[in-house]
């Protein structure tokens, strides 16, 4: 069966509550380059006392980028459980549409290594993350 990311991520059954909360949307992907681009719509509820989007919420978005990148890279065979994630916060992020890019640096048999970038509504790089995740079969199989 050929894996179709648009059909997979478009399926409501594959959209967890967290994806709805973050306004997750698949923008682009390249299965050969192990690469994915996601759009997010942060809510005012995510703002910290300085009025910027709270850093952990930005990590939630990056975590929800590099995980799907592994699903795309493995052609729907692998689902991730994040082992670690290290983020650098380059600049604060104001409320507005966010774009992230995720890349799988290495897809091993049991562990995937990934990198993520987060851009603000003006296209500026704001957060960089590297992460490792243990990989296993997609729960319930591909729908």
């Amino acid at each position: 069966m050929v894996f179709d990311p648009v059909a997979f991520f478009g399926n409501e059954k594959n959209a967890p509550p967290v994806a709805r909360l973050l306004g997750w949307q698949l923008l682009e992907f390249d299965q050969d380059k192990f690469w994915i681009k996601i759009g997010f719509e942060p809510k005012p509820e995510f703002l910290n006392p300085a009025g910027f989007v709270q850093g952990g919420m930005l990590i939630a978005m990056l975590d929800d980028t590099v995980g799907p990148a592994v699903i795309v890279a493995s052609r729907g065979q692998s689902y991730t459980t994040t082992i670690d994630l290290h983020a650098h916060f380059l600049r604060p992020v104001k409320l507005g549409s966010i774009v992230t890019e995720g890349m799988v640096t290495r897809l091993g048999k049991t562990v995937a290594f990934t990198e993520g970038k987060l851009f603000d509504s003006e296209g500026r790089l704001c957060v960089r993350a590297t992460s490792s995740a243990s990989i296993g079969p997609v729960p319930g199989g591909i729908k």
Binding site: N14, P16, P17, V18, R20, L21, K43, P44, E45, F46, L47, N48, P49, A50, Q54, G55, G56, M57, I59, A60, M61, L62, D63, D64, G67, Y79, T81, T82, I83, D84, L85, H86, A87, H88, F89, R91, P92, R124, L125, P139
Partner: protein
């Protein structure tokens, strides 16, 4: 808990990110630079496996570390997280979550902090280390034009 009043001085109104995470202070000791905070691991935060998405666990630890650093630094300085590294030890189910945080090093310009996150059964589920820079409150950090 002797230092609860400090929280109200520094944060007269809680941040919206804290409210959405269900932030509720349990302990705060400014001298020891430690705190414990309870959060609500809501159904809205769950991933496809039905566990709380890792980023939201990080958000809870970041919120706790940020609060503690602000209490320690006072209102003249404003902390910004520079980096944060998390290890996810076990998955976390929906329910109450507790974060214990402490500041390990406090300098004039930088703070280094640690946090542990516990699930509703009290098991350690995630661990984070972070560094924060202290900006003057009235002059936030400048960023070069891109």
């Amino acid at each position: 808990m002797p230092d609860r009043h400090l929280l109200r001085e520094v944060f007269p109104t809680p941040a919206r990110s804290s409210l959405s995470l269900g932030f509720e202070i349990i302990e705060l000791d400014a001298k020891a630079m430690t705190t414990r905070v309870r959060f609500n691991g809501s159904e809205d935060f769950t991933n496809p496996a039905g566990y709380i998405q890792g980023g939201f666990l990080v958000a809870m630890m970041d919120d706790t570390i940020g609060m503690l650093t602000t209490v320690k630094a006072g209102t003249s300085k404003y902390p910004s997280t520079v980096d944060l590294h998390t290890h996810f030890l076990r998955p976390v189910r929906v329910g109450p979550i507790e974060v214990a945080a402490r500041l390990r090093n406090v300098g004039r310009a930088m703070v280094f902090a640690e946090a542990d996150l516990f699930d509703s059964r009290g098991k350690e589920a995630a661990r984070a280390t972070a560094s924060l820079t202290l900006n003057p409150a009235k002059a936030p950090a400048k960023t070069p034009k891109s």
